[in-house]
Amino acid sequence: MKGKFEDKLAKLAFGELNSDEAARLEREVQSDPEALRTLSMYKDMRSGLRSLSDIPEDQFSKERLRDAILTQGLKPVPTRPVSNRTWLWMPAAACALGFALMYGQGMFRHSAGPKLVINSDQAGLHSTIKSPIEFDPKPTDGSKLVAVNTPKPSASLTKDMLPKVDPDEVDPRILVSVPINDDSYDPDLGKMPENGPSAPSGTLASIEHKPAATSVPIVLIDQDTDQQTGACKATEVGSSSNVLVGG
């Protein structure tokens, strides 16, 4: 028996054909014993399945359900999906990382800035100066210190930036090679007046003007350009003693 015909017989037995189709198929089946037997089997199957619907009563209680839910500690999950908010931390973390990198690079550049050398004969005393002196820190490659000769005279040291020195422990031969922003300071002599009003607490009793850090050559870059090359003029000086820092 073909599958489609058998499916029609099953539909007929289970009452899933309309009345016209059912009547036509029943007439057709009367002359086909095999189809008649198949139809009878499907009808028996249908009635048998219906009889299987009788089942014993359950003994389930609400208390059992409540206990089952409470035992497992279950709570209904909130309706609002949480997964959408989980993506918010990613851009925030990216921003924080970006800030951290930029700030870290800035700190690194400052730490690689120029050095103000306060020199003594016995031991070098190094102090890092960040902003007041207009050194360009980029070209420093360990062997050359490049100073840009800008016309702005404002950048200079103030007295507060100088290291405080105990007068009792000071070496009388300490050299200072940078000017300070004080009218009482004479850059030609490199001396502070003995009773100067703005002298720092650690007043240097004897200051001798000597070149400092001669081992590091200094290149002065002017803003005027060379007519042949078009680049800025640069002059390498032998020491930093004749460089006027701050204009």
Partner: protein, 200 residues
């Protein structure tokens, strides 16, 4: 006028969807109402699938626990009973995989004996004996079917679910559900034909 409005509002609140919303908000009594409404439906289907009352009750419990746990996943456009029966179908499939051997060996004898003792018409024992034998044969053939055939036979021919409901429960189209029913009936007929054909 006011009475009609309050009555319609009350009916609206009593729908499954409203109860589900309340249960989502933590109202356990609303969930208990859902349980009272549909426990018999779930139990009937579970019993037909497992043929054991204790197994069916375990499945009812697990089904409602899972439903409570996953209330946020229920979409309001589907009927709650459809969603619930889908959970039960999956649970029955899992349970059948775990205890297939036990069901095949032990339960059939017990079910047959139970049917023999508890059902039937006392006035015609010969007729009852024949009917009981047919039931046992049919139950045995049904339990021997693969789960995908068994579930559609139970849904359609025992529990008499409509095809659109079946499609939602089985996760297929209405046409697909009809096709599955036809295949399952044919498979069941092939299994019971040799058993019932002996006395023809």
């Amino acid at each position: 006028m006011g009475y009609d409005a309050s009555l319609s509002g009350r009916m609206e609140l009593d729908t499954d969807v409203a109860l589900v919303k309340k249960a989502r908000d933590g109202d356990f009594r609303a969930f208990e109402q859902l349980f009272d409404r549909h426990r018999n439906l779930v139990y009937r289907f579970a019993y037909q699938m497992t043929s054991r009352r204790d197994d069916a009750e375990d499945i009812v419990q697990e089904a409602f626990v899972r439903a409570y746990q996953n209330l946020h996943r229920y979409r309001d456009e589907a009927k709650f009973t459809t969603w619930l029966l889908r959970i039960v179908t999956n649970l029955c499939t899992d349970q059948a995989r775990m205890s297939q051997r036990r069901l095949a060996l032990e339960q059939q004898e017990a079910a047959g004996a139970l049917d023999w003792m508890t059902s039937g018409d006392v006035e015609d024992p010969v007729k009852n004996l024949e009917e009981d034998r047919r039931k046992v044969v049919l139950r045995k053939a049904l339990n021997a079917l693969p789960m995908h055939h068994k579930s559609v036979i139970i849904l359609r021919d025992i529990e008499e679910r409509e095809y659109p409901d079946m499609a939602s429960i089985l996760g297929c189209t209405v046409g697909g559900a009809k096709l599955r029913v036809l295949r399952a009936r044919r498979a069941l007929k092939e299994r019971i034909a040799p058993l019932l054909g002996e006395d023809r």
